[in-house]
Amino acid sequence: MIDDPLLKVLPFAVLLMPLAGFVVLALFGDWIRRDKEETGAGILACVTVLVSFGLAAWTTVRLYGLVAGPSRLRFSQPYLGFEWMEAGGFRVPFSLLVDPLSCVMMLVVTGVGALIHVYSLGYMAHDEERVPYFSYLNLFTFFMLLLVLGGNLPLMFVGWEGVGLCSYLLIGFWYRKQSASAAGLKAFVVNRVGDVGLILGMAFMFHALGTLDLVDIADNAGSLAPEALGELGPATIACLLLFLGATGKSAQIPLHVWLPDAMEGPTPVSALIHAATMVTAGVYMVARLGPLYHVSETAMTTVAVVGAATALMAATIALVQTDIKRVLAYSTVSQLGYMFLACGVGAFGVGIFHLYTHAFFKALLFLGSGSVIHALSGEQDLRRMGGLWRRIPWTFGTFVVGALAIAGIPPLAGFFSKDEILLAAIGRPVLFGLGLFTALLTSFYMARLVFLAFFGSFRGGREAEHHVHESPWVMLFPLVLLAIGSAVAGFVRIPRVVAPVLRLEEHGVHHVAWLPVVATLTAVAGILVAYYLYQAVPGLRARLAPALRPALRLFEAKYHWDDVYDGFVRRVVVGGSEKVLWTRFDAGLIDGAVNGIGALTAALARTLRPVQTGLVRHYALLVLAGAVALLGWVFWS
């Protein structure tokens, strides 16, 4: 551990900047509106995140600048000075953890976050309520930073819940729209289901290891006995429960259903929360607890299988989406699946690597789609776009960079991270095959998106065609920066950077020579197929459609997940509550018991009343009886 005073203070400053922004905007919102200073408010929000980014960079530089101890692990644990909870052996201090992994996350969150704040200045320029919007964005940044900087699981959980809250607020930002507020609620509730697993997992974790401190967990996990496949040891149970929480936050099967609906929120929100940062929290948590997951073979396999399955399923659904943001949403779910796949096969560092590259190009793609939507004055349907490459060249150019990156074309960032994932999975042929096939689908649906949106003839009508205009520079500037990032980010060897944190051996990467070639060819193949179907041969789609009907119908129905959940909620939860819990228990049992006591008392009284005859003689008899009884008691005791 590094003991440096600056490293003990800087991280708190990083945290507090966006929080301060939120507080200011929340407290003075009314004055700002009254004085028409909304733009200033937005700039304030951007500034806080930019300063935070600067401080984060400073922290990282300092962490690497100082000489590390004997172990290659360099970290610092800034401590606020007091405990949050303390009960017996259970101790939760207000302490953070600054190490390479949290630095990577911190930089991504503040960096990409800052760009998105700037972009929002342009995108939300006409919105009446941009002050709350910026305050929520700042608050989100604070919570996300708390999540990645938290030194123990409970603090991480505070950040976890906090970003969930902000997600709800931001998805349902246009609350007057019924579908938006419903989507916000759905996101929060589904997340909550996952959080049950998270809380139980924390409890099991404490039971198994006796600590919730991240450094201690990583240190002690190595001393646990490995648990074989199918064995339900404490580590397995804890990891599986925590993974349930991760599926909720990171939209994996079975709790993925909220992410596509979350596209109801403003596009910058989708970029920040549902592409670059919040949804990656699950991956971060799994990677953080990597040493513990390593102990449990069941947990690892579960993570890998769920990740691969989700990646494939989401990719197939993305094939048939007609809304530009929905394609990207399912693409996010799919890419998150890749990250979990990497973690599941033991390459936690690679998972983080993909998280990092994905932040760049996914944010770029979302912001780019926002630019397209802005150009078309709100149109999001791909069927009403087309031929835009000439009209909005900057948007088009950056978007294509992002698309190529996600498809995995070298030397863009996505190629490197995806290649590493496939390399890690090479020992498991089924998972590898799934990963490769999904890569094909990925490049196919991204190319489809590009062709439909930017090429061909404009299908949106005369009126809309007149208004097509390029976005203002305040929106284009972040796009350009992100495009540059998507291009060069892959050259940073993230896995090596975070390996010590994850207690992983930097095993000699056994290069499989043919893999990069195969991967690239797969990506190119996907693009070519899309080109043929959507550009070159117009009638081909119509001819192929009937054969693929059943599959397409399944994809369009999103594999019926929403229908199942809806049926379950409606029939079991609501129906059960109404028909059983309400009528039988609440009204019948509890009300019955309470009323019954009253009725019982009345009945008892009615039975006893005849004793009061009103006749003195009878009362005299009773007095005599009492006297005799008393006498007898005295007499015989």
Binding site: R617, H618, L621, L624, A625, A627, V628, L631, G632, F635
Partner: protein
């Protein structure tokens, strides 16, 4: 000699008491009660308490019973309304049982002592006066005077037709 007198008066008292309880006409009950009271006075005398015997005759038989008779005459009470009721019989049965129990319990206690009566027993008026006006009972004695006054006022108020 005293014993024989005692048993005689005891018998009279019991018979008269039964008459008190059983007679339909309350006037007869009243007279029977007077007889009981007088027999009891005699027994008091036999037990060496002349003062009490005298007070019994003067106060009880002479004043209280006269009051009873006055009221009886005033209200012109004749026979009691005869209302046979199963309830009355149950009542009688229960009451009889209870009284029996009472008698048994009390009797065992009261009659248990084998002590012989005291030898020198002086309960003459002089001695009674000495003890009644002694500091032990003086206060209670005066209090009873107040009590009688209160009873007097109360009776008058209660029995008036209009206040």
């Amino acid at each position: 000699m005293d014993a024989a007198l005692f048993y005689f008066f005891a018998a009279v008292a019991v018979v008269a008491a039964v008459v008190v309880v059983s007679q339909r006409n309350p006037i007869y009950s009243a007279f029977a009660l007077v007889v009981t009271l007088c027999s009891l006075a005699a027994i008091f005398g036999l037990l060496g308490s002349p003062f009490i015997a005298a007070v019994q005759v003067i106060v009880y038989a002479g004043a209280i019973m006269v009051l009873f008779l006055f009221v009886l005459m005033l209200l012109n009470v004749r026979r009691e309304v005869d209302r046979p009721g199963g309830r009355d019989r149950i009542l009688a049965g229960v009451g009889l049982a209870l009284v029996t129990l009472l008698v048994l319990q009390a009797g065992t206690v009261l009659l248990g002592s084998r002590r012989a009566p005291a030898a020198d027993f002086d309960a003459s008026t002089t001695e009674m006066a000495k003890i009644l006006f002694s500091p032990v009972f003086l206060y209670a004695f005066e209090a009873t005077a107040i009590l009688i006054l209160a009873a007097l006022v109360g009776a008058v108020v209660l029995a008036k037709k209009e206040l």
